[in-house]
Structure formats: C-alpha cells, structure tokens
Subunit: 331 residues, 2 copies
C-alpha cells in the first residue's frame, strides 16, 4: 500500500490537514512544523494520491485529445503543438482513441465522467443533437478540422489553400492542372470537399478548362505509382499536379516520376499539401501549401482553456488558419 497523508501526519505528530497545508506551501503553518513535515514527506517518498485530489477538487487538470486511429502527419504535428502548449502549464495531456464514428460517445464519456477537463476532438463528424447537448451543458469541447458553426473549433482554410495553390500554378503558366485526393477514404470530412471546391472555383475563375481529378485509395506511398500511370495514360496529360492529398503522396510521385522518366518541374509541376517535414527531405524541394498544424494545436489548447475558464465568447468561437504557399523547386 502506498503512503497516505494520514501516515505522514501521524509520523510528524500533526493532523492530515496540516500536512495538506504544508504541501501547498500555505503561509498559515509554522516554519518548524513545515520543515518537519517536509522531511518526513521526502523520507517516505510521499506523493498525494491523484484520484483523491481530483475527486475532492472536481477537476482533473487534464485535457484529452480524441481521435480515430488513422495515421496522419497533420495529426502528429497538431498533437505536437498541443504538447508544446501544455508543456510547463498545470495541464496534462491524455490521448483517447475512438473507432471512426464512435468519437461522440467517447467525448461524452470523457466529459460527463470527468476523465478530463476539456476535450479536443479531431476530425470528428458530430451529429447535431450531440453538439446541442454539449453546448447546453457548457462542456468544454473543441472541434478540430471538422468544425460546426456556433461551436468552438479550430480549422484550416482548405478552400483557400486549394484556391491559392491553383492560382500559384496558373501564375507559373500552367494551364492543365490535375488534383489528387482520397475522397472515398475520407468521405464526409470537410477538408476533402473544401479542397476540391477550391480547385474547381479557382479553375473556373482563372478560365482553366482542363480538369483532372485523381482519386487515391489512401494517403500513402502507393500514391506515386497510381498518379504517374494515370498521367501517362492521358492523351492530353496535365502540366501540373496539385497533390491535395498531401506531401507524402507528392514525394511518392516525385520518386516514381524519376523512375518513369517524367521530369519535374519541366514536364510537370508538382505541389504538395501540408508543408510537413517530408516536403523538406525530398531531393527536389517540394513546393507546397503550408498548413500550420503545430500552431493549430496551440490554438486548440488555448481555446479549450478559455472554455474551462467559462469565457462566454469562446463557446462559439471558430479560429481559422489561412494557407501559405511555400515555394521550393518542384513548381
């Protein structure tokens, strides 16, 4: 059995209350007593039981991240941002996994069961009645990526990102721009739709008549081969490829393009999406659209803390991050 505050109190010849006060460095307790208690605490390796504390105080000093398991660089970097922001503060980070579709149930369990003081829900498709309940109870829930008007959230402007990417490529004289996406794999998630809409809108606004949408089964290293083959198959191949499917797929394309003799950027310009570390490790620097994942993680935590504090405005605040084109060599 672990050491309790009672045992410390007994050994020090004081009451548990006193020990508690000493540990919180209260000025109301005398020097001598304090020193004596602290020595015993040290000697006995006493640390307050966290559950007892939480139960009494009604808080957990923890923030939870809920997400389904799909592996994804954005998620890693986002989490990293949250971690950095949490670091040094009084909060602790907890990770909870939920099968795709079961995220709302998991959020409820955490918030209602006081497993954490706030939840950051990543890419969660949230039913309206669920959100209404959360909102009514003023539970601190931050939506990340798939936000909903009227609820606290953090998002990236995927539409603008796509639009700007196409505009950049067109500005470089490219007229036949293809886009790659994994629509089926991420059905329902706003970022897919938004990126596609941005592409379509920009093409229209810029008077580009060419359109080629390459559907990928996943955002992985198999993408390069699929894209190259699709492109070589066309009688009128694109002169630019916008990998809205991410830097990883763009890197995969660069690699496969070299194998099959497609020259980048001469034959075809390539743009990625995310500006993850991958974009900097390809031998030909990858021009890409930066999504500030780390900053978004910080913002999400910040918003969560404001919800915990009960700041009224925060309960319907959506923080949107704009895109930035990072020019390297591939386009």
């Amino acid at each position: 059995m672990a050491v309790t505050i009672k045992q410390i109190a007994e050994l020090a010849g004081v009451a548990p209350t006193t020990v508690s006060l000493v540990l919180r460095d209260s000025p109301k307790v005398g020097r001598a007593t304090k020193d004596r208690v602290l020595r015993i605490v040290e000697d006995m390796d006493y640390y307050p039981n966290h559950s007892g504390k939480m139960l009494k105080q009604g808080r957990t000093d923890a923030v939870a991240i809920v997400s389904s398991l799909f592996q994804n660089i954005f998620k890693m970097e986002f989490v990293n941002g949250v971690e950095r922001a949490v670091h040094g503060g009084p909060f602790q980070l907890r990770h909870y996994y939920a099968e795709a579709g079961s995220e709302p149930a998991k959020c409820k369990e955490i918030l209602y069961g006081k497993m954490a003081d706030a939840v950051l829900a990543m890419s969660m498709l949230a039913p309206p009645d669920f959100l209404a309940k959360i909102k009514a109870s003023r539970k601190p829930l931050v939506l990340v990526e798939d936000v909903v008007e009227g609820f606290p959230g953090v998002r990236f402007d995927n539409y603008a990102a796509s639009y700007e990417a196409v505009r950049y490529l067109a500005g470089k004289g490219r007229r036949r721009i293809a886009i790659s996406l994994a629509m089926k794999a991420y059905m329902g998630h706003c970022f897919v739709d938004e990126r596609l809409r941005g592409y379509i809108a920009a093409s229209r606004d810029l008077g580009l008549e060419y359109s080629e949408i390459i559907e990928l089964p996943a955002y992985d290293l198999g993408a390069g081969r699929i894209m190259v083959e699709r492109i070589l198959d066309k009688s009128e191949p694109p002169d630019a490829l916008f990998c809205a499917s991410g830097d990883l797929t763009a890197a995969s394309f660069l690699k496969q393009a070299r194998v099959q003799g497609l020259r980048v950027p001469d034959d075809i310009a390539v743009m990625g999406f995310d500006d993850s570390i991958i974009a900097q490790t390809t031998t030909l620097g990858l021009t890409t659209v930066r999504q500030p994942s780390t900053e978004m993680g910080k913002a999400a935590l910040d918003l969560a803390l404001r919800l915990i504090d009960g700041e009224a405005e925060a309960f319907s605040m959506i923080v949107t991050f704009p895109p930035e084109i990072i020019v390297r060599e591939s386009a």
Copy 2:
C-alpha cells in the same frame, strides 16, 4: 454539477448499489429494474465519475509515457506503437513531459501518486538509487532506450546496428567510411556511444584503417551542409557515409550532395539510421538500418502490463531488438 449515481438511483427508485450493479451488467439484478435504470442513465447522460471509481479501485487503467521534449522520429514512431497496442484494450495512454534531467522525479510523482498504473520512461538517464527504490517497491517502470541491467527495459541493439552497417558498406567495396553523430547533443545517452563503438569495432575487425567522425550539433536539416562541406574539405574524402545520426540527416545530405555535385552512390555511398518514413520519401531510396520503433512501443507496453500483473520475471527483463539492413539505392 454533474449527475451522480445517487440521483440516478433516486429517479429510478432504487439504491445506488443497484445502479452500480446494473452498470456493470450484473446478473444479480432483475430485467425490469435493469431496463428502468438503464433508460434513466441514458436519459440523464450519466457516466460514472472516473475519479471516484479510480479512488475506490486503487487503479487508474492508464499507462504513462514520460519523456523530455526533444523532438525525434524514433519517439513518434515508438509512441505510435504504444498507441496501437493500447488501442482496444482497457488501458489509456497519458503523456507526461519532463525537462531533461527531471524525468526520475516525474516518474516518482506518477507512480507514487497513482497518476498511472505504469510508466514507460523514454531515454531517461536514471540514477542508481532512484532505480533501487523503484525496484524495491515493485513499481511498474519500463526503461526505453537507456536501459539498465537488472531493470525492466526495451532497447535496440545500437552496437550491432552500427557494426552491421559498416560491414554492409565494406561488403560493397567501400574502404573509407565516415560516420556522423551528435555526441554532444545526446551526451550520456547510450545510443550514441553504442553506435560509435560499433563503427570502431567493425572498422577494426574488417581492417579498415580510415576513420572519420563527423560531429553534428543536432539531428536536423542543417546536417547535410555540414557533412558535405566536411567531406569536400578532406584531402582523402570518404567513399561512404554512415549517418548514424538518422535518416533525416541522411536525407539532408542527399539533398545537399546534389547541390554541390557529389554523386550518390557513385562518389559516396550513404546509409541512414532508423528506416523512418523519411527513408522512403527521398527521391533516391535511402539504404538504412531499420530500428523497429513501432514494435518496440508494443513491446514496452506489453512489458508494462506484465509488471502491473506482478509477473516476477518481468521485473528484470530487458527486451532487445536486433537491427536489419534495408537496402535501397543510396548504398
């Protein structure tokens, strides 16, 4: 205030005990009562308070990862392995950060304060007296990477990895092999020493007289430039570079080599370390030593669970993972 088991009991006209039993699906309670209680639980959005439960049960159903903040692909992939292993089980993962040097204090706080049932400590330099205490109290602590004989741990055979890498390069006819490392940055951590010793031993055993150790300030993208310049400066440059400093630095080298006209692998063969995703996204496939980080994460969790279960052998078990050479194009 959140809903409690008492309120549910009152609404259902039963005792709290009954509600508790219903929630744990006990066969000792009648169908009718069960249904009635469950409906009210649902209606009221009742979820048991986690702190209360933990306090009573004396466990947390959580495993903690303690690490200092240094960003590192091995760590990410390791954590990913733990996450996968945790997924589906009854345990939850918690992340705790500790300034380099303060990890032991953090571990104590977590284990003695019952903030988690077990701790995985990454790259922690643990003082002997700290370990002795932990061992005596049979607290479930798993050392990752920097393991100590007699204590539960998970490690990669860095010595063998380095040795095999050099042997591979020598087998390819390379005689002047350089190694890159960030010794000062990771002073005291075993992996640096082991990798260096493996390099030295293999060179000696294979009769290679050439030796060149490139010290890097960090494992980042600035490494390429430093390495290329160092190499071009030599009157007798190496014909192989073993980036024991990781794939990221190797990728950085490939990129810089292209800029400065060094041909890989003709002028110089390049090997990385880790086999992270980076090794697959460089345009010229990176030959590297695979460190099975994800599997190591799984193993660490597995070991932690065995410690929690009190398996005697586990308390002095060190799981070692062997290296594997992954041949691609750069060497």
